[in-house]
Every structure is written in C-alpha cells, then in structure tokens.
C-alpha cells in the first residue's frame, strides 16, 4: 500500500491504509486524534463532524481516498486552548452533559458561523439538525451558537 499524505489542522500527516478506510478511523486509530467521535457509522448523528475545506462533513462517510487533496480541520485544530468563540460560549452556557457529541456539535457550528456569521434561530436549528445529543443539551447549544455569533443572548 502506498503512503498517503493528509493535511490535518495545517500539518502534513503520512498514513498507510486502504483507500476505503473512513477518515474517522484514520484520525482516531492511525493518528491518535480521538476528539472526533464514533457515534453511528452511517452519517446519521454528527458526532464525527470535521471540516473538509471548511465544510462540515461527517468523517465516517469520507474515505481516505476522498480527502487526499483536502484540508481537514478537527476539534484538535479548532483552537489551541479551547478559546475559539464557540468554545467560550459553550463554557459560558455549560453546554455539555456527557460531552461525547460536543466536539461534533462545535465543529458543525464552527462551519455554520464561517458561512453565516449572524445566523437566526431558525438557521441554527436547520444547520444543527444533523447532530444528535442524547443528553438533550439542544437549548444550550442553540443559545451558545447564537451568543458566539451575536455577542448577545438569544
């Protein structure tokens, strides 16, 4: 198997793996970047959300072959010290309960804000609909995304 070079969080990483291996598992098992979570394996829950060239994408549905020429950003690359405005808002509203889905939620929200800096409540709902939180932190997610964008309470 030939080596593949991936661009993740601004750094080059070399991996040797089959083309069909999902990016999720390349990140988690080959590169030891465990922030991106496995939730459903079918693109149904959003726990594995990363950015592919700035677009929120489910990494369980991206194969290694798909991403060779892409710039990938994961939760590890969002900020150095949990200081991204979304992470600060997440902290302000004490959003996480178990926390397992939250890296995916935050990555999805970060792509949303990059595209639409001042989303309305309905737009937040629409864009975050693909990310499941079984603990039910949705109300706080919505408030945190809104606050990060508008610097005022929803």
């Amino acid at each position: 198997m030939p080596k593949k070079t991936l661009s993740i969080n601004g750094k080059k990483h070399e991996v040797t793996a089959p083309d069909e291996m999902p990016l999720l598992w390349v990140l988690r098992d080959l590169l030891q970047m465990k922030g991106t979570k496995f939730g459903c394996g079918q693109g149904l829950c959003g726990a594995c959300t990363v950015h592919q060239d700035g677009v929120a994408t489910r990494s369980c549905q991206l194969s290694l072959g798909d991403v060779e020429d892409s710039k990938i950003t994961t939760i590890e690359g969002l900020s150095d010290d949990a200081t991204h405005p979304l992470q600060e808002a997440w902290s302000k509203y004490n959003v996480p309960q178990c926390g397992y889905c939250q890296p995916g939620q935050i990555m999805n929200a970060a792509a949303l804000l990059a595209e639409n800096a001042k989303p309305k409540e309905q737009e937040i709902n629409d864009e975050m609909e693909g990310n499941i939180c079984r603990c039910g932190t949705y109300d706080r997610i919505k408030k945190a995304v809104y606050f990060a964008a508008h610097k005022k309470e929803l």
Binding site: K34, G39, C98, M128, N131
Partner: protein, 714 residues
C-alpha cells in the same frame, strides 16, 4: 500511599450504613508521613498547596464529578480551584459505586460531608494546639485556619493535623454553604469542549500488542453458530484472525459470538460485516411483536387477578354507578447513548485490568473475578468518562466480552460495538400493557381505583426464573399512587419473553406515569374540570402517602400552576397539558404547551417544570438535567419504539429506524426549582416520567383524541 488491608476495609464498609465512626475509619488509612497525608480514602493532601478528592461515582453527563467535589470541598473549606479530582477505580472501600437510581448525591450527602468536615476539623484542632487556644476559636476558611489575627494554611498545619485522631465534626448549616447549591460550571468543561476528555471509546493502551476486536452476536440470546464462513472477513486489510466466543455467564443471557481480531477498530467492524454466519435458533422462543403484544393482552385479560401490590379497602360499601376504563400500550425501548459500548481489557495469567465506561465498576469487578476465577484483588476496573449511559452501562456484558477476548488472545484487547450492535443487543426497557379502571359515582366523581400493569419483569437480571414482578418494580410509579380513593388496588403480572430486559433512565415510572397521568386528565375533561384542580382534589391534606409528603406534592403542583400562568393561558385558549409525578424521592410537576401544525401532529412550544428535590447540589447542573429530561421524554413520546421480528430479534439498528429527538423541536423551557433546603433527592431521572403525560395531555387537547399508546409519531 498506604495499602488498605482487609481489616481496614471491613471497618470502612461497616461504617458506611449509618453515621461514621471516624476515629476508626481514619486510623486505618492515614499515613504518618507529613508530606503526603491521606486523611481517608476520599481526601489526600499531597504536601503541596492542593488536595486530591476522589469521585467514586461514574460521570455520564449528570455532572456528578462536579457535584460531589463541590460538596466535599465546601465542607472541607478548601478552594475548589485547588482540588484535583481523582476518578475512583471499582473498589468496595469507597462504599456503593453503582451509579444508577439517581442516588449518588442522596446516598452520600451526610456520609461524605461528615468525612470532609472531620478532615477540616483536624486542621482547626491542629491550629488550636499550636496557638494554645480553644478549638472553637479556630475557624477554617478556604484552606486556612484563622484565629483573631493569626492565620495558617492547611499546608503548614499538615504535619500537626496528621498526628491527630479524627472525630465527628459539626456539619455546615445551609447559610454557611460556599459551593453547595451554586451553579458552578462543570469542572471538566475544558476537556469536554476540546475533545480531550478520555471516554471509553478513546482509551487505548500504548502498546504494540494491542488488538482491536468486534463481535457478531447471535440475533437472539440462546442462538448458536451453525455455519461460519470467514473467508471474506479475513481479506479485509488489517484483519488478523477470527475467533469464537462461548456464551457469557448466565446472568448476562448472551449467546456465543464470532469475533474479528484486527489491528484497528475499522478493520474489526468491517470484518464483522464480511462474516457469513448461519445461526441455529432452534432453542429460541420465537415471538414476533404481534405475539408479544398478544401475550401481554392475554395476561391482562385473565380472569384470575395478578399479584396484588397494594390494596386499600374502605370499610363502608362503595358501589360505583359507572366505570371509566382505559388501556395503555408502550413498546420496548433501547438506551442509545451517543457512545456505543466499548471496553479495553488486559488479561495476564494472574491479573486483569480493564478501562471501561461503566456505571457499576464494582459489579464489573465481581463479574470479571468470577469469570476468570481470580480473587477480586487481582482485578482492577478503571472508570473512563461515559458517553451517556442511561442504565445500559450498568450491565457488564460488554466488559466481560473484552476480558474474554483478551484471555483467548493473550494480548490487550479493545472491544468496540457498532451502533447496530448497541441497538440490537441491548437490555431493553420492557413493553407494557396496562388497564386502569376508575369507579365513578352518579356525578362522575371517582370512588375506586384499580390498576393492572402487565410487562416482562426486570428480575431476569438477577435470577433465571421469573414468575412475577418484584415489589420495587411496582413502586416505580404504580403502587405509589398519591391520590385518595375509597378503594385502591394495584395488580401486576409478568410475561415471559426472550428479549433481555433491564433498566432505562426512569425505569417503569415511564409507563406507569403515562397511564396514570393520562387517566387523571381524561377524567377531568369528562367532568369539565380543570385538570390541576382535579388532581389537587384527589389529594388529602397533611398526609404521608406511600412515602410521599402530600404537602410537598401539592406545593409543586400549585407552583407550576402559578409560574406557568396556567389560568390565564387556559382562558386564552392555549393548548396546555399538565401532569405531576413523584419518583426517586423527588416531586415534579409540568405544564406543556403545544400548537397546531397543518397536516401534522401538534408541535411542542413551551414547557414549565417545577422540581422539588430538596437541597440541590449545583443549580446549573440540576437545570440541565431537567432540560435533558424533557428532550429524553420527547424522544420516548414521539419516536421510541423497538420491535421484534419473527425470531424475536430486534428490528431496529441505527438512528434512521430508531430516531431520537433532534434540535429543531426544542421547546422554550422554564425550569423552576424549589429551594427548601431539605435533604437532597434524585435529579437525573424523576423529570422524564412526569413530563411524558404532561406532553401527551397537551397533544390530546389539541387533537381531541385520547392518547393510549406510545410513540405518537411512529
């Protein structure tokens, strides 16, 4: 660090039931080295300006790590920011670690505060001795002891304090609480929002030897592998071998399974998809969903009554003029925590260590020791963060599988479940069929109450032969009926099924509260009475009923009426539903508003929730639990449904056919907490069952149709 001997351990466990005899407890485990003063198994001073406090319960989103630590730091009078949290491994020296039943706070409220207070007291007495003043003149404040103008840190008093014999010390009054009750942000927040928190799914040993395993299990417990073709599986890049596992011990009720061993998780999961297995299901009791429902119906309609779980009989003869009768069906449910099941195990000839997202590390430890025939001292169970639990991670089956695979392979193993594995091989919340009959007088006022609940008992977790539900299963919302009727009778029966059952968050309260809350609402509508007035009219004043303080119950109901502006909104024609329920020792009342949507079921708009859980530990976390319970309840009402195919195998597999609530339907939520300073009670579970009938009653009001079955959207 001192090793705790068996003798000390016995002392410790003997102490946990009642009050603490601290002297004996602390003597057993304090070291005499002044630089490292382990005051007890929970509190350890490291000889620097910080203290380690142990959290012995599992964190699965309920905020227990923050809550327990803030409770102990408060009583210890130590600054929270200088506390290092230590997650306990499974060990009986900590007392009960079974993180379920919403009891982590209520069971430890006195016990752990006493422990922290007696530790604080050591420093007060050490300072008093040093300054030659009375103990009472020395006051602890955030890691210092102060007496008039003198001030000394715990650190400087460490050596002196470690020589003293601990005694029982005064606990703080509510007015003195520094942290208890405050809405402190999760102490784990940074790890949780940066992807750095280590969940069971994220744990890995730094070892070249590490193997990754996933299993294909029999579609139904009891199945056996008839034919196996692993040719294609072995072709998957990274797959090393295929193994067979026998069934786990009886209480797990599993079957044999086939494991794919690989160099990474994906290869293991992918290999499983490529296995061709035909299963011998001849010994399995075949019961499709229709047959299961018929079995429930047959049992419900048996002329012979079920076992009686409560009976209150009036001396006078009561002859109802009519009977209001309603039947309720609720299906099986699965937990679906966001983190599927996973465990890492390292088994050597005489030791086993595991790392797992477990709610019950002691049960896991005992099960592993038994499985491997090792003494418990030779088994170590480390607890990771849990990516949700909801009861599923109380069961040690997924941990035993990892242990078993590691034993076979003689290498450390990480065993990962897919989402489909989690949905199809659960311990399910049982389906239930219930009938409530209310005898009415000529004015349709209720006289008699008769409730029959038929379901598959969860006692199967504890015993292979189940003939009837346990008393505590009916005390989950049915036999605990708070209302006053002339005659009350609560019956129940068990129906045998091949489906594994166990507890899901809130347990049988889910179906019992749904049935009772619906009947009360329907009765109120029948006589055109306000449902809140109607509910209150069924309560007797100044009375304890089945351990419930009726005054507290009355108070949450009246509070939700006031806070939700019930009367005003009723008058405006808003579509409102009301219900209340007592469970896990807490009192809940809900008002839910829905609005009509063209061509669809009504949409939830706003929720008012009133909780009386006594003293709440962390206001922010308690509010979060109420919010999460509403969403969890919505998933149950709208979508929750597990069904059986003709082999009694589970038909659902992922979030497409087992949908859960998503963000867009999130209602406006107004959470009102009663601040009465009474002993703290359950928080994680009691809101779910109270919310469910409030929601369905609002929907029934909007559609004009009674709701007798869940879910309503599937």
């Amino acid at each position: 660090m001192n090793i705790i001997t068996r003798r000390d351990f016995l002392k410790l466990t003997g102490l946990t039931a009642g009050g603490l005899v601290l002297g004996t407890q602390l003597q057993g485990c304090s070291t005499k080295t002044p630089s490292d003063f382990r005051a007890n198994v929970f509190i350890n001073f490291l000889g620097e300006d910080k203290v380690q406090i142990v959290c012995h319960r599992s964190e699965m989103g309920q905020g227990i790590r923050t809550s327990l630590i803030q409770m102990m730091a408060d009583e210890l009078e130590y600054p929270l920011e200088k506390v290092e949290m230590i997650q306990a491994e499974g060990d009986k020296k900590y007392g009960d670690q079974n993180t379920d039943g919403s009891k982590s706070i209520r069971d430890n409220w006195i016990r752990l505060r006493e422990l922290a207070a007696s530790t604080r007291n050591l420093f007060e007495r050490a300072a008093a001795k040093k300054w030659k003043v009375s103990d009472k003149e020395c006051k602890a404040e955030l890691g210092y002891i102060i007496c008039q103008s003198k001030k000394m840190s715990y650190l400087d008093l460490l050596e002196e304090a470690s020589k003293l014999k601990p005694i029982k010390a005064r606990l703080k009054e509510k007015s003195e609480f520094r942290y208890i009750g405050k809405g402190i942000t999760s102490l784990d927040i940074k790890e949780l929002i940066s992807g750095k928190a280590v969940f069971g799914m994220d744990f890995e040993l730094d070892s070249e030897e590490m193997l990754f395993v996933s299993l294909v299990r029999s579609p139904v417990p009891g199945g056996k592998v008839k034919k196996l073709n692993d040719k294609e599986a072995l072709k998957v890049q990274g797959v090393k071998q295929v193994i067979q596992l026998k069934e786990l011990p009886q209480d797990m009720n599993t079957s044999n399974s086939v494991g794919v061993v690989a160099t990474n998780t994906w290869a293991a999961l992918e290999g499983c998809k490529q296995l061709e297995i035909s299963w011998d299901l001849s010994s399995v009791n075949k019961m499709n969903d229709k047959k299961m429902q018929t079995a429930l119906k047959t049992e419900l309609n048996k002329s012979k009554p079920g076992k009686i779980y409560r009976k209150n009989s009036s001396k006078e003869k009561v002859t109802p003029k009519s009977t209001y009768k309603a039947e309720f069906y609720t299906p099986f449910l699965v937990h679906a925590p966001m983190e599927p099941l996973v465990a890492t195990a390292k088994v050597t000839t005489d030791f086993c260590e595991v790392w797992a997202p477990t709610q019950h590390p002691q049960r896991a430890r005992t099960s592993i020791a038994k499985f491997l025939s090792l003494p418990e001292e030779k088994v170590k169970v480390n607890v990771t963060f849990l990516g949700g639990g909801f009861g599923r991670k109380s069961q040690p089956d997924f941990i035993l599988e990892a242990v078993y695979a590691s034993q076979i392979l003689k290498k450390p193993v990480k065993l990962t479940w897919s989402r489909e594995d989690e949905v199809k091989h659960g311990f399910y919340h049982p389906s239930a069929l219930q009938r409530i009959e209310v005898g009415l007088d000529k004015d349709k006022k209720p006289l008699n109450w008769k409730h029959k609940s038929v379901f598959s008992s969860m006692m199967s977790v504890f015993s292979p032969k189940v003939t009837e539900p346990a008393d505590w299963e009916l005390a989950l919302g049915a036999s605990t009926l708070p209302y006053h009727f002339k005659n009350i009778e609560v019956q129940a029966s068990h129906v045998e099924t091949p489906v594994r059952r166990a507890w899901l968050r809130s347990v049988h309260n889910i179906f019992h509260a749904f049935a009772i809350g619906t009947v009360i609402d329907e009765l109120a509508r029948q006589v055109s009475t306000d449902p809140i007035d109607f509910s209150l009219s069924l309560l007797k004043e100044d009375q304890m009923v089945e351990k419930q303080d009726i005054n507290r119950l009355r108070h949450v109901i009246e509070t939700v009426r006031e806070k939700s502006h019930w009367k005003k909104r009723q008058a405006e024609g808003k579509l409102l539903g009301f219900a209340h329920h007592y469970s896990f020792n807490s009192y809940l009342a809900f008002v839910v508003e829905v609005e009509k949507v063209d061509g669809e079921l009504p949409r939830i708009k706003e929720v008012d929730c009133v909780l009386d859980c006594g003293q709440y530990m962390n206001e922010n976390i308690v509010r979060a639990q109420m919010e999460g319970s509403i969403i969890f309840g919505m998933s149950i009402v709208n979508y929750g449904k597990i069904t059986l195919d003709e082999n009694s195998a589970i038909e659902q597999g992922n979030f497409d056919d087992y949908p859960v609530q998503r963000i867009s339907e999130t209602p406006k939520m107004n959470i009102h907490l009663i601040d009465n300073g009474l002993a703290p009670q359950g928080v994680g579970e009691p809101a779910v069952p109270a919310f469910i009938p409030a929601y369905t009653n609002a929907v029934a009001r909007a559609t004009g149709k009674n709701i007798r079955e869940l879910p309503i959207k599937a």
